[in-house]
Every structure is written in structure tokens, then in C-alpha cells.
Symmetry: C2
Subunit: 368 residues, 2 copies
């Protein structure tokens, strides 16, 4: 007890900081936006319902083949507020019905990439605006992409879709409806998909590196998780009786498929990863990598345009100062003045590297 | 167990989100910037050392009266990396030696407000810049202001100082060197200071409202904390023996003052508040209130200037289109054209409310 007293005396108390953060985060509540993409009938809605144990699709109307042909890809948002052990989550599911259903699927991912960009653009406007108190963040944190279980690996449309999205969102590829594949077939398909993802340079969501100071059990789980991708999943909205217990599952004449049985599919692994261990990291990667890339591109583009405009007006001003006989020459017009020549005249010619949105403000401050 | 199994089945797992946040915050580490202000000899350095149990001022050189007269207020930063129970904290103490020491203390807070503004400005530049990955955040999260224990309440310089800073930083007023006051005198001085803070409209740091769902003990502590301000503190760098234990204290012929004895002073309350319960809130208020106010002012000012410039160039363009006899009149020059008149010509005249730093980018997008 003397030692603990001595320790207590040495205790400043900032070790409580993570708890203060914890407390505040509970108070504030969480939000998460999940996109699901893949052809109709891949079990997207069922999987989402199984994951979050809610019925997000009560009012859904299924379309027949004819309707589906004419249907363009549309984006549908479902938002639900759920609470668990005092933790509040505003969950938004972004659905993309119609994707890949057409006969010609050229650029069918365009509405989806546009949607993701629009959310980034809105957030960029909001966070650059004057009042930032109540910004609604609709950025997409994760996209579950459903690969069909039939076929021998990725189809061209899968490759194109993922390549169109992989620098905008965290893609987690799934093998849909895995109850139609034997364990051996699943292994083969997974290997094939992994190989092709590598081969085509597709960047799916990377699980963060495990800290070296983690315990062995955690490291083992992390390793299993990484080896398991792409997750082979089965969803079910019905509860069946298996081994004397009522479980989510599918009743076949040859047996019962249990959604949450780890020897039947990777549903539990996916849920643990997506919700219980990596949800916060998915949000962080969205903000720190995907959004920052988008923002940097926007600013570079803005800067280039402002620069062009400034150089143009500089040329016009300078042109007006040239001797009249020079200007009268039909051979010379302002845009023929080269930037290098402008520089030799001693004018400060703006270049993109020296400009930023705060340029004006900076200039003002330095000229005071 | 049947019930717990049923509960387990209903458990999605997002209740782990606060733990994911907790985990990430530990991984990332914390930083905190504390400013101390008040006349020399008020025990600022001793208190900081007592609070964080470090020696931040090893190399300090004390100045004599003559040196202090000529000394201007300067800002000195001490940074120390400390760790406790695996939680890392980068603590920065911003010291303001020389404040209030001069004979004429007119505007002696100017270097201090300038310093706080500079940190905001730097952060504004950084967060508006292209690469935001490694932004160093030097914003001041809290200012401990030391009120002298002698005197009957606030002095004019105290009022002026706090009013100059209260919209830029969280001020926590302290009654310094409280071991020279009897409990009765402390009570009187606290009442007086509280009254005057009210009377002069000084906004010191407000402890956040207690949640209604907190337990009674927490509510009681929160109430005591709020009633206790301004904290009367005593610091000590020396360890003395009191009641058979070695404690931080001050040995007087008439007894021992124990820094951490709650019946002697409010040191423990201050430490609990500043470090163990409200450190994260101090950071949040800094970012969400003080910095946001600064940023909004900056943007409004930028916008006004850009607008003025645009209106001016619009006037010049328009002036050039006026009939020559009109322009030749010595009575008319571009700046005499009124904004209202410009509007009647059908030109879109920019007004501050319609402009923002992203204006240019917006214009581009809408004209595509």
C-alpha cells in the first residue's frame, strides 16, 4: 500500500483523457453511412437487415424484368436511428438499385461515383463556409460490393466498378449468396478474386496494421480477418430452429444454413469487422484519405483557374502599355505574350504553386 | 441465461463505437496548451510544476527589479512529453513573463492577445491549405489567470486583461498564494471577484451543464466545483513531512500548509477539473467556439475586401462604357457611381452576403 500511495502521489490524472473522449463521444452520438452495391437479387437488403437487425426496407417495391430494363441506376437513402446500451447511431444505408441490371452496363457506376463526389462537394462547401456548427455529414464511409457467387472470379463490370470507386470510398468486396458454394468452391473463388484484385490494381479497404503491443489473441483474430477477404456471406430475414435454438437461417431439404455459424459463412467476421472493430477506422480513412484527396484536387483545380485568369488579365494590361505601332500589328495579340517574357519585364506572374484560397487574405496582411 | 442469450442475439455491436474512439485516441496521443498569466511572483511556475509533477522551469533565470522595468512582455513556450498509464500527452505551457510588471501597464496584454491570434491564424492557414496531414495545433486551450491575494477584488489591470482575452481563450481565474488569507478572507475575496466578473461582463470559462442522467455523486461534485470558483490555490515545489507522511507543502512556524489538503486550498479541485474531468471540454470549446469565432471574423473581413475590389473594378469598366462627353466631365469619376445605380444597369453587383472563399469555384461549376 505504501507503493500504491507513492504511485498515487505521482499520478497527475491526464490518463483519464481517453475516458473524457469516450464520454463526449457517447453524449454526441455517432453516424455511419454505408453503401451497398451489386446486381439485384444478390441479397443486399437482406444482408443489411441481418447486420443491423432492423427492417430498413419495409416499403420496398420489387420491379419485374421489364421495369428493370428501363430503370436507370438510382440512389436511395434509408436513415434509421438505433440505440444500443446507451450508444446512439444514426445509420444511413445508401442503396443503388438498378446497378448492373441493364443489358448495356456502360458507365453504370457513373451515378454512384457522382453521388459520392456530391457528398464530398457538399461537405467541402460546408466546412469552407461561415457557420460550421450544424454540418450534416453525408460522406459515404464504406461500400459493400456484392460479387455474384456464380462465375469464375471478377466480371469486367466488377473490375470497372471497383476501379471507378476505389479512390473515393472504402470498398469491401463480398461474395454474395455463398450458400450455393461448397467450402472448396468458396476457397477457390476467394483466391481467384484476391488474385484479380491484385492484378487489376484495385485498392480495396486495407485493414490497419496491428500494433506490436497488442495481445496474441487480438493478433490472431486480425490475421484471420485479413486472410478471410473477400468475405463470403449469407443473409436471412427468417428465424429457423437449429440444434434446439432459434437462429437466423435458411431451411433447405438437406440441412439448415445458419447465418451466424462461422463454419457456414463469414457473416459474423464481416459484422465484427464492419461494426465492432473497424467502423471508426472506416470513418477515419474516409475523412483523412478519400475526402482529403478530393479536397486537394478541387483546390488545385480552383488555383489553376484563378491563376489562368490572373495571367490573362496581366497580359491584357501589359499589352495596353506596349507602343501603339506594336499593338497595331495584326501579328500580336495579348495571348501571344509568353509567361516567360512577362517575367523578364519584372512583373510578378502568379504560378499555381504560390496561390491558395487564402492568397487574397495573405496579400492583404502582408501589404498592411 | 435464456434472456441473456436473447439479448446477445439482439446485440448488433455498435455499442463498441466509444471504445473504438477510446482506442484510437490512446494510439494517437493527446496535446494540451496551457497559458499562465499574472504578475511575477504569483507562483505561476510553482503551480504548473505542482499540477503536472514536472520541472518545466529548470533553466529559468529570475530578473531583478531593474531588469524587469525594462523588460517587455514576452511569450515563452515550454513543451514536455509526459506519459501516464500508457496515455501520452504533449503538454505546452505558454508563459508570459513580464506581464503587469511595468510601471505603466497600458495594453500590456497586447503581446498575449496577439500571440493567441497568431496561433489561430496559423491554424486557419494550415486547415485551409492543401496538405492537412501534419498540422501542428498550437492553439491555446486554457489560460490560468492569477489574481493577487492582497487587494480587495479585481484591479483595473485584471479587468482589462480578462476582457481583452475572454473571447479568444478559456479563462480560469485563480486566487494566487492563498496561504496568506484566512478561510473567511478567502470567502470574501471569492464573492467579491465573482460579483465583479459579473458586473464587468467578463466571460470566464463556463463548466458545461451537468447531464440529467448523471449520478447524484457526480452532480454534487459538479455543484461544488461551480461554487468554488475562483479557485484559491497554493503551490509548492518542496516536500515536507506532515502527519507522518511526505507531502507537497509549505512549512511555517505556525504549521504546515499542505497543497493537496482540500481544507487548506482548492489545488486538488483545480487539478481534478483542469486535468481529470474538463481538459477535453476545454479543447472542444477552444475549437468550436473561440476558433470558430476567429475564423468567421477573418472570412467576413476577406469577403468584404474582395467585394470592395470587385465593385471598384466594375465601376471602372462601366465608366469606360459611358459616353465620352460624360466621362470628360471633371465632375464624374468611377468612384462616384453608386452601387444602386450599378444595379439599375442590370450588372450583377457582388455583395458580401453572396460571397465566400469558394465563390470562384462555385461560379465555375455553375457556368459549366
Amino acid at each position: 500500500t505504501i507503493q500504491s500511495y507513492e504511485e498515487e502521489k505521482q499520478y497527475v490524472g491526464f490518463a483519464t483523457l481517453p475516458n473524457q473522449v469516450h464520454r463526449k463521444s457517447v453524449k454526441k452520438g455517432f453516424d455511419f453511412t454505408l453503401m451497398v452495391a451489386g446486381e439485384s437479387g444478390m441479397g443486399k437488403s437482406t444482408l443489411v437487415n441481418s447486420l443491423f437487425l432492423t427492417d430498413l426496407y419495409k416499403d420496398r417495391k420489387l420491379l419485374n424484368a421489364e421495369e428493370r430494363i428501363n430503370q436507370t441506376v438510382e440512389i436511395i437513402k434509408h436513415t434509421v436511428d438505433i440505440e444500443e446500451k446507451g450508444v446512439k447511431l444514426k445509420l444511413t444505408i445508401v442503396d443503388t438499385p438498378g446497378f448492373g441490371d441493364a443489358v448495356n452496363n456502360n458507365e453504370c457506376w457513373k451515378p454512384i461515383t457522382d453521388y459520392i463526389d456530391q457528398q464530398f462537394e457538399q461537405y467541402f462547401r460546408d466546412e469552407s463556409g461561415l457557420n460550421r456548427k450544424n454540418i450534416q455529414d453525408n460522406r459515404v464511409h464504406c461500400c459493400l460490393y456484392f460479387i455474384p457467387p456464380f462465375g469464375h472470379g471478377l466480371r469486367p463490370v466488377d473490375v470497372e466498378f471497383m476501379k471507378a470507386l476505389h479512390e473515393k470510398v472504402n470498398i469491401i468486396p463480398l461474395i454474395a449468396k455463398a450458400d450455393c458454394l461448397t467450402p472448396n468452391e468458396i476457397k477457390k473463388l476467394k483466391d481467384r478474386v484476391r488474385e484479380e484484385i491484385d492484378k487489376f490494381g484495385i485498392k480495396v479497404y486495407q485493414f490497419p496494421e496491428c500494433d506490436s503491443d497488442e495481445d496474441e489473441e487480438f493478433k490472431q483474430l486480425d490475421k484471420e480477418l485479413k486472410e478471410c477477404t473477400p468475405f463470403a456471406v449469407i443473409g436471412s430475414n427468417t428465424v429457423v430452429e437449429a440444434r434446439g435454438q432459434r437462429v437466423r437461417g435458411r431451411l433447405y431439404p438437406w440441412g439448415i444454413v445458419e447465418v451466424e455459424n462461422q463454419s457456414h459463412c463469414d457473416f459474423v467476421k464481416l459484422r465484427n469487422m464492419l461494426i465492432r472493430s473497424h467502423m471508426h477506422d472506416l470513418k477515419d480513412v474516409t475523412c483523412d484519405v478519400h475526402y482529403e484527396n478530393y479536397r486537394a484536387q478541387c483546390i488545385q483545380e480552383m488555383t489553376r483557374l484563378v491563376c489562368e485568369r490572373m495571367v490573362k488579365s496581366l497580359k491584357v494590361s501589359l499589352f495596353k502599355r506596349l507602343p501603339l505601332e506594336f499593338r497595331a500589328s495584326t501579328l500580336l495579340s495579348p495571348h501571344l505574350l509568353s509567361v516567360n517574357w512577362l517575367r523578364t519585364t519584372g512583373w510578378r506572374v502568379p504560378s499555381p504553386s504560390c496561390l491558395c484560397p487564402l492568397q487574397m487574405w495573405t496579400l492583404r496582411n502582408s501589404s498592411k
